[in-house]
């Protein structure tokens, strides 16, 4: 397996949707390619960081104001 082939399977590997046979091939490649190990681990970390640090959160007061405005118009039939 080449690094390009490994990269093409990166998402499936991260999402856990690879067959046992393919997983074995990917692991074999990682056993001899440090760069692909780094790419996989840092890509997983990238997702984890974005998932745990919520961007663009709505402050509670703004959320309540927008929510009230939406529901007021819905109750009037928009």
């Amino acid at each position: 397996m080449t690094c390009t082939e490994f990269l093409a399977m990166l998402d499936d590997m991260i999402d856990g949707s690879v067959s046992a046979k393919l997983r074995a091939e990917l692991q074999q490649h990682m056993g001899c390619c440090e760069h692909c190990v780094v790419t996989l681990n840092t890509t997983i970390k990238t997702i984890e960081i974005y998932r745990s640090h919520e961007l663009y959160d709505l402050p509670a007061d703004l959320r309540e104001r927008l929510h009230a405005a939406i529901m007021a118009r819905c109750k009037k039939g928009c």
Binding site: L10, D15, L26, T42, I49, R51, A69, R73, C74
Partner: protein
């Protein structure tokens, strides 16, 4: 081998189905529940596309009002949230068109870049590299980094990786094919990884104290 687990599993029947039926039967309080459930997610999608807080607030309101008005047209073939996201994305793009005085705006904008297709920064990261920054600094880094991606990548990453939608639901919500979503997700992930590497690589010292960190707002869309 490490994997990222989906945030939410498939539920049958989806609890939104009953809420939608109650709204259709005239129960406005059921719509209150749906709005409360999804308002933050819709706001984030709008913010990712418009990159403007006021526009995102308007889009959030307009999307929920439009969904309420058109609820009879919702067939139930897709999930309510998927249908709602599609409305929110269209409203966001309309808002962008207004700002750009009618210039064509599409979710496909700038997606043909080859940047990030091949990893260049191959240095490993420090363990828990985000711990080297305060929450405020980390927030600025993450925001500045994701702003550098095309909107079609940002929204795919947000829906798939942050909100945990399936590839199929993301494709339906954005009006894209499944292969297009997969392609964009891979490139979004790799571009974010590449850009974050500048901050998180092993041996990397903190860039600057928080007070001297350049404002993310001033660098909207800039290379990071």
């Amino acid at each position: 081998m490490a994997t990222i687990q989906p945030i939410a599993g498939e539920l049958e029947p989806h609890p939104d189905v009953a809420l939608v039926e109650r709204v259709r039967g005239g129960d406005v309080s059921a719509y209150d529940e749906l709005v409360r459930k999804y308002e933050r997610q819709v706001f984030r999608i709008a913010q990712h596309i418009t990159q403007n807080r006021e526009d995102a607030e308007d889009v959030m309101q307009d999307a929920f009002l439009k969904a309420y008005e058109k609820l009879e047209q919702f067939q139930g073939n897709s999930k309510f949230y998927t249908w709602l996201v599609r409305i929110a994305v269209n409203e966001s793009l309309m808002r962008l068109r207004k700002r750009r005085t009618g210039k064509f705006v599409s979710i496909d904008e700038d997606v043909e870049t080859e940047e990030g297709s091949v990893p260049r920064d191959l240095a490993d990261w420090a363990p828990d590299p985000e711990q080297n920054y305060t929450q405020a600094e980390l927030g600025r880094i993450l925001e500045k980094t994701i702003k550098g991606l095309p909107p079609g990548f940002r929204v795919v990453f947000e829906l798939r990786d942050v909100q945990g939608l399936s590839t199929e639901d993301t494709a339906e919500a954005l009006g894209l094919s499944v292969p297009a979503v997969k392609s964009r997700l891979l490139r979004a992930r790799l571009q974010l990884r590449e850009r974050l590497s500048r901050y998180f690589r092993r041996g990397k010292n903190r860039k600057q104290p928080a007070a001297k960190e350049p404002s993310a707002a001033k660098e909207s869309g800039a290379e990071v």
